[in-house]
Symmetry: D2
Subunit: 267 residues, 4 copies
């Protein structure tokens, strides 16, 4: 019989809030509006440990992931989850049968590729976004979720434009939006991405023919924005569209500096 050191009483009796596995790369399959998408996300799964237990049984957390999506490596399988947060909740549900705990969290981080139409030629361009979803079951058994998107856009400086007869500095900027809300709230990551992407001086595209490039250039000059403006627009639109606690962070990779500028706020 193996010794279960985890079940011993620890020297220092202190409850720990988050113990588990992190930086675990695996496969996930999500069925979104009838289409199946495959991801290779990073997972983090944690539970609390009571003061009187030395440790947790880590392998049961891994099994909960595997059980929730065991068949997902092969493409034929049809039974898939309808969102990353449904997958996260499913992992917690599996965990309930395997390991006692009061609090549980699952975090799933991946890329999302969304087809767009380019602004002038109307060609299809596949745009990449970084997304992260957290599902948190608290001590009362209630489920909350945290949704995060990270979108690449740009800023054209209005101050330099006003002082240089229409010329200005332009640069890549990255907008991040986080919504913490009840698990039941229906919020699509795609809608959060739209809120961020529409708040820049102009959206960016992977594919741009010359006519499209011209449209983006003209659009950026027609819509000069500070990093502060981008943050305010994301914040205002997110608050209007999404119920929950909202956090916005915009970083602009200034083309005239070696450092970045930042604007951040939260509700």
């Amino acid at each position: 019989m193996p010794v279960e050191t985890q079940e011993e009483v620890p020297e220092i009796r202190e409850r720990l809030r988050r113990v588990g596995i992190t930086n675990l790369r695996s496969v996930a399959k999500i069925n979104w509006k009838g289409q199946t998408y495959t991801f290779l996300p990073l997972f983090e799964v944690t539970i609390d440990v009571p003061a009187e237990k030395k440790g947790i049984h880590m392998s049961r957390l891994v099994e909960s992931i595997t059980d929730a999506m065991s068949e997902a490596v092969e493409e034929e399988v049809m039974k898939v989850h309808t969102s990353l947060e449904e997958l996260g909740k499913c992992i917690i549900r599996h965990l309930e049968g395997k390991h006692p705990h009061k609090r549980a969290e699952v975090w799933i981080k991946t890329h999302l590729i969304i087809p767009r139409k380019t602004p002038a030629s109307g060609k299809t361009s596949y745009e990449p976004y970084d997304v992260e979803v957290g599902v948190i079951k608290n001590e009362e058994g209630a489920f909350k979720k945290v949704l995060r998107v990270k979108v690449v856009g740009n800023t054209a400086c209005p101050h330099a434009m006003a002082n240089n007869e229409g010329k200005t500095h332009i640069q890549r900027a990255i907008g991040e939006l986080e919504v913490k809300t009840a698990f039941e709230e229906e919020i699509a990551l795609e809608d959060m991405i739209d809120v961020v992407e529409s708040s820049f001086s102009h959206p960016t595209y992977t594919l741009l023919k010359t006519v499209d490039e011209n449209a983006v250039v003209q659009g950026m000059f027609a819509n000069p924005k500070f990093v502060e403006d981008v943050a305010r627009e994301i914040f205002a639109n997110a608050r209007e569209r999404f119920k929950g606690k909202i956090h916005v962070r915009v970083i602009s990779n200034e083309s005239i500096h070696k450092h970045d500028v930042i604007a951040e706020t939260w509700s």
Copy 2:
């Protein structure tokens, strides 16, 4: 006369909490107990923006850094700050004369090299640590600080040891300790590093002769610890020694897995 677009009223009237510069690499000199140390830290400096102002004057934040340590590039200079947090506060003090604001933050992130004695041969070994200091002036003008250290150590698994007649898996682990406290609290980063470093199965060293290596190996086997044990020990010791809000995070780069395990808690 240049246009000051920053002073205009923005379309969306919303106060922003943190606007400024980030990822700015520069030089800092600190006089610690009579010795002068030079760092090449990353700086972040932010202030709040009221609802009725479109933006901030970013260059004044850069000038506040430069003014606070203008002469610091050359080594001869004698006027230096006594800690990273004193430098941070000094940057905010310079900022007060340059840019109106209610809230200001300075974050300074660097490496710290500390000489140690190796466990058996007593040779000097220079150990690197990652540290970060935040100084926050709130709306009432009160100063708080956030101190963070990140220390590399190791864990020897007690569960595997109990089940394998003394054999076990061992791995590198990283312990992080954060203390949020009043600015006046005297807490040395070196003491925080000691709390973390003494909580592993054994401290690590840059230089280890064979006798030292043996001492570390014997020490790790004499002191098996879960990542949970390390987190609890850091937390208990930090709470006893440092006044303030404490956050502990330990990551173990498991040698038997491709992923990491994590234990985290906070007061």
Copy 3:
């Protein structure tokens, strides 16, 4: 009519070897032995620019990627490539019809998840690996390829073991194997991964029940290895199994040090 600045003669007449797009995240689908796998790789596509042309038409490189896998975003599609290098070659073939060039390169970097059996309980464990494939068409039109795998394993130090009555330090180690070879050489990334994974003190697993953990611990102690031993074994096995130029690099995240150790060699 748009101006084609790219076609102008540059001030400095100098041929450039590699010009193109990089860090482009997109979707790829590969049919490997009858199963379809979906990836979200990073792409780099470059061509040479002759001395008398100012620049290249970047959008045509993006279109070559899109054309090669246009339908790949939706899972239903059946027409897929049989390997990452076939996809790379297909991108170059599309490029030939779009943009004059003498030399072309495509680099595709992704994660690969492979199911394994755990050493004692025989459970299925999904193991993640980093892979990169480069396809290079040279000035004569000949195709070469570069295959790279990165595998996480471990080392148990034989020197410490000999000096501490069987006790030793153990740590995570990362082995990298690169093979540069003719495009036609049939070399599976999975086989390269096997060569690396079998060269450590022991392979690692995402899922390990107690009996499996015991097997890994016993295996590591039965098979102590320097980082040098791991590099030599990878090199010798790779040379025997794979025709081409071989490069091996092993990094061990020492548990007794804060730094890493490295062993590297090439043919």
Copy 4:
């Protein structure tokens, strides 16, 4: 008497080219033209291992670093090296007395902060650069060196400018220059930085008052450049000024795309 496992004959008799320590953070002091500068670089030190030796004595490599700069942690010390490559050579010289080898390499990676004058107001701005120096002693005992600099600048697209009546997209760009040459060649990292920095549409500055910002904006529009143009100019100037093998790589963080563009060439 400790066992010296490293001296045993390995199972696989194969010479290894590079074995040693890497990612070791420490302190370095360099006296450059009469001023002493302190760095916190990352070090890599490797030697070759003959076919008949199982491994190397890693601690002797660490000691060679420590010996070469033992007193360097405290600022008062006056004995310092005149360049990073002199420090690297000094580490190899110490190594010669400690560990037999035929080939040795030392790599030192750090940031360099250089004071500049801003373009209009003439204020002092401290600019950060990434530099890396490699010193290689080959089997014949001859010393070579590799010098690398990484500089942040910008590109203003000439194609978009020609098609949009003077409007264009602008973005941050990163230029990398490497020179491999004889150890005796006198090449200052500062001069390499100048070659890269002067090849962008315009240099960037940490501090920019409004008049300076205007000068940079006007300068970027007056000097539109493809990433290809930047690479060619760096390459042509470097070849003229520096004797040795030259490698140039420029990455532009496009403001209209989510991906980057790249231009690379070498002699």
